[in-house]
Amino acid sequence: MIQIEKRLREEAKRLLETKEAAVVLAFGRGFDEEHPMPLILRKPSDAEKIVFNEYCTFNMARHLTEFPPGTKIAVAVKAADSRAVTVLIQEGKVKREDLIILGIPVAGMKDFRSGTAIDATTTGPAVNPVLYDILLADLLPEPKDVSPYDVLAEIEAMSPDDRWGFWSAEFSRCIRCYACRKACPLCYCETCFVDQAKPRWSEKSPSASSNMMFHLTRFYHLAGRCIDCGSCSRACPMDIPLYLFHKKVSKECEEMFDQAAGMCVDAKPVMVDFKVEDSDDILL
C-alpha cells in the first residue's frame, strides 16, 4: 500500500508537471488516516497530499463526468473502478484519449465503517484493473473459482412473499438521502427521475411504496451497467444491502445477454443493444 501511495504521488506530480493531465483524481486524507476522502489535484505541489491505504474504497470514476469535455484527466482506479471508467467510455460520457488511467491492482480493502474486509460478497472478486495506461503495482493473481453471485443463493431460494418481506423491511429504513446515487459512478443524470416534477415519477418523501419505486427504478437504470463496486452500499447510512439487488440484476443480464458490464471499451452496453435471437420465454 505504501509502495502504491509513493508511486501514485510520483505519477500525479509528473503528469501535472508535464501538463499531460490537467486534473488528477486520487485519494486524500480525511479527518484521519482511516477516513480518506476523494482528492482532486490541479497543482504538482499538491501531490504530497495523496494517500493510499486499505480504506480508500470509493470509486473515483464517479467524478469523471464533472469536468468540461476535453479536460485531460488522470484517474486512479482499482479493479471495479476501471470497469466503471470503461462503461463511461462506452456511453460516450468521457473520451478514452482524454483519460490517463492509473491502474491499482489491490486486494484486501476494508470498509472504514465496520473495519471488515471487502470481498466477493459485497463487490466483484477481481483484483486487477481491466483498463489502465500506467500500472502502479505488479498485477496480482486473480482469485479463482470465486463468483460474485454466490451470496445471492440464500435470497433466491426464498419464496416471493419472504423475499418481499426481506426487501420491504430493508427499503422501509431508507431515508432517501440519495447517498447511493451520489456514490455511484454511473448515476450521472443531471436530473434524476426522482427529482422530476413533471412527470412526477415518485413521491419524494420516504414511504414504503415510494422507496420501492425509487430503488427498483434505480436498479433498472443500472441494469447491464452496474460494475459491482459496492460503493452504494458502503455509502448508505442505513446499511441497506443494495449490492445484493445490483448483483442479482447483473447476474440476470449476464445470463440473458451473455455480457458482463464494463469489460471491453468497444462493446455496447446490453440495454442499448439487442440480438434477434434473444429469448422472450420469461415474458410470455
Binding site: 427498483l216 441494469a223 434477434v276 434473444d278 420469461i282 415474458l283 410470455l284
Partner: protein, 142 residues
Amino acid sequence: MSFDPKILGIACNWCTYTGADLAGTTRLHYPHNVRVARVMCSSRINPAFIFRAFVLGADGVLVGGCHPGDCHYSTGNLYARRRLAVTKKILEFAGLEPERFRVAWISASEGNIFAETVREFTEQVRNLGPQTKLAAQKRMLA
C-alpha cells in the same frame, strides 16, 4: 362479490392496439378489466411506467407489442424485449408475483388472440387477488 382486478394494458399503436380495435369491431367479448393505454412502440415503454402502475394500485400489467421482427420501426420491440425481461426479473426478485406482469406479441390481425390474452390474464390476476405489495397505502392519484 368476487374481486375485480384493475389491469393496465400498454399497447403499441401499430399491432396490439390495432388488434384490440379489431377485437372490438368483430364484436368479440372480453373482460373489461384491462385499461389500454396506447404508445407508439413497445420500446416507448419506460419500465418506470410499470413500477408506477403497481405503486398506484394496478393488480397487473399487460404489455402488447408487435411480433419480434414485425416492428413498425424495425427494431423497437427487440430493444423492448430486453428491457421488459430485466423489468420482470427485478419485480420477481423484489418479491412481487411474476404472474402479475405479462408481455404478449399480438399483431394487428390477431383480434381473437388479443381477446383470448386479456381473458387469460384477467383470470390469472383474479386468482392472485389484490396487489397490496407495491401499492401505496393511500392511493395517491385516483
